[in-house]
């Protein structure tokens, strides 16, 4: 992959100007941090407001009569019940009930808007297109950028009148955008979709607001981990079902009555009989972080694996999540983590590690 050509977002020039340290991520050159560093960016997001470029994520519109019903073929989320101006989190599943991707879907009144993971858009978009009836069309939006402005001061800087998971068209500094009151940090904030050619002007405006600091993928990762939110490819994959992943809440009640989506049978089986393993929060004792792929042990036997782990700057201690055998998934259960050939004591812990502060 050494000669792989990395894609850039419309903010690439701005990232470099701000001193962003660019790294490859899902085929894009993205800033992992700015000169302030991951710790400072993370803490600033929790204290005030941080601006993230998430333009690498896949945006698309689904248009036409029956778009919501068509999407429901592939997801157990209740898309049809989604009211105009509302957004929700969902999962795309395969025939085995495995998670193809996690995504956001919004009802913009007359069309649905989707945001999928950068690393999965080449899988998701053809998959969605493959189930669409005549008259429903998926329209990828590669000419739109996505900015996430996150933190407790965002609502004061850009009042929208929306509640958590509300979405709508508005203008920021005269620039038309589609903003949702959501994010992936555990904080209140906005995710802002904007035309690529106006992305830099918008980003510069947002950075000029008092208390707003640029933050990179490093802080985004530690923030979402403290918030107990999954990262596709780490915590979720095609061999993991929503029951194991503790994401049953993302499945609509109506959908769990009808079982009318791809992968419904294996998911129903896991729900009825209990999954073999469960995603849990894990707190290592002491200060040493346990990273992804660390083996989880109990009584000398391997009973699971860490899928995301690091140091939680706001928690002030290492935090992790991973999958463990179901009988070991209760909060407080003692486990050992095999870190550099040493057994590091740890406990199953409730998530989020840092309380969510959404504007519900």
């Amino acid at each position: 992959m050494a000669d792989e050509v990395l894609l850039e977002t419309p903010l690439a020039g701005l990232h470099r100007e701000l001193g962003g340290r660019m790294v490859p991520f899902a085929g894009y050159a993205m800033p992992v941090q700015y000169p302030a560093g991951i710790m400072a960016e993370h803490l600033h997001c929790r204290a005030r407001a941080a601006l993230f470029d998430v333009s690498h994520m896949g945006q698309a519109e689904l248009v036409g009569e029956g778009a919501a019903a068509a999407l429901e073929r592939l997801t157990p989320a209740d898309v049809q019940a989604l009211k105009p101006g509302r957004q929700r989190y969902g999962l795309l599943l395969n025939e085995r009930g495995g998670i193809v991707d996690d995504f956001m879907v919004a009802n913009l009144g007359g069309r649905l808007m989707l945001v999928v993971n950068a690393s999965r858009k080449h899988v998701d978009f053809p998959l969605i297109e493959s189930v669409l009836p005549a008259g429903v069309r998926l329209r990828p939006l590669p000419d739109r950028a996505l900015l996430a402005l996150q933190g407790p001061e965002v609502a004061g800087l850009i009042p929208t009148g929306m509640s958590f998971m509300g979405i709508g068209a508005l203008e920021i500094a005269g620039i038309p955008v589609i903003a949702s009151r959501s994010g992936y940090t555990g904080e209140d904030g906005l995710e802002i979709s904007v035309a690529a050619e106006q992305a830099e002007a918008l980003a510069r405006h947002l950075l000029s607001l008092p208390g707003v600091m640029p933050a990179g993928l490093g802080a985004r990762d530690s923030l979402r981990l403290e918030a107990g939110l999954c990262l596709y490819g780490n915590d979720l994959d095609e061999d993991t079902n929503p029951v194991e992943a503790a994401l049953v809440w993302s499945m609509g009640k109506r959908r769990r009555m009808a079982w009318d989506f791809v992968g419904a049978e294996p998911v129903r089986e896991a729900l009825d009989n209990g999954p073999k393993r469960l995603r849990v929060g894990i707190r290592p004792e002491g200060r040493q972080p346990a990273r992804a792929h660390t083996a989880v042990e109990s009584g000398g036997a391997t009973v699971g694996e860490i899928t995301s782990g690091g140091f939680g700057p706001s928690v002030g201690a290492p935090v992790a999540m991973g999958y463990v055998r179901r009988d070991l998934a209760a909060d407080g259960t003692s486990l050992e983590l095999r870190v550099r050939d040493k057994a590091l004591p740890a406990r199953v812990a409730p998530t989020p590690f840092q309380p969510h502060r959404y504007a519900r």
Partner: protein, 123 residues
């Protein structure tokens, strides 16, 4: 008091019978905020090139290698409670351990100029 450097971004400062060892400013900057340091046991005999300490930042874990063969005579206990010293003062209060070298020093140790060129060649 001459300072020497390794290609793995450690520095050594020879003081009397022992050398103080830490990671370079370039290394701490590349790692980012250090949150944990695992140090070797004092008294341990180590071989040049052996991984004997671990430094973890928010983002990544990295090995620290013995720059010379010898015996660990002291470790910087202050790093246990305050690993951020590695970022604040990498060649001062953020030192890792003191080692009493045994036998010949390895050939690959660089002076400051050679190390600066080495770092440049990585960019």
């Amino acid at each position: 008091m001459t300072m020497k450097f390794t290609k793995d971004h450690e520095w050594l400062r020879f003081e009397g019978e022992a050398a103080t060892v830490g990671i370079t400013d370039h290394a701490q900057n590349a790692l980012g905020d250090v949150v944990f340091v695992d140090l070797p046991e004092p008294g341990r005999e180590v071989q040049a090139g052996e991984a004997i300490a671990v430094v973890e930042s928010v983002k990544a874990a990295s090995d620290v290698y013995a720059p010379v063969t010898g015996k660990i005579v002291e470790v910087n206990a202050a790093l246990v409670d305050n690993p951020g010293l590695v970022n604040q003062a990498p060649t001062g209060e953020g030192w890792f351990f003191r080692i009493a070298p045994e036998g010949e020093l390895p050939d690959g140790l660089m002076d400051a100029d050679a190390y600066a060129s080495h770092v440049e060649s990585l960019a």
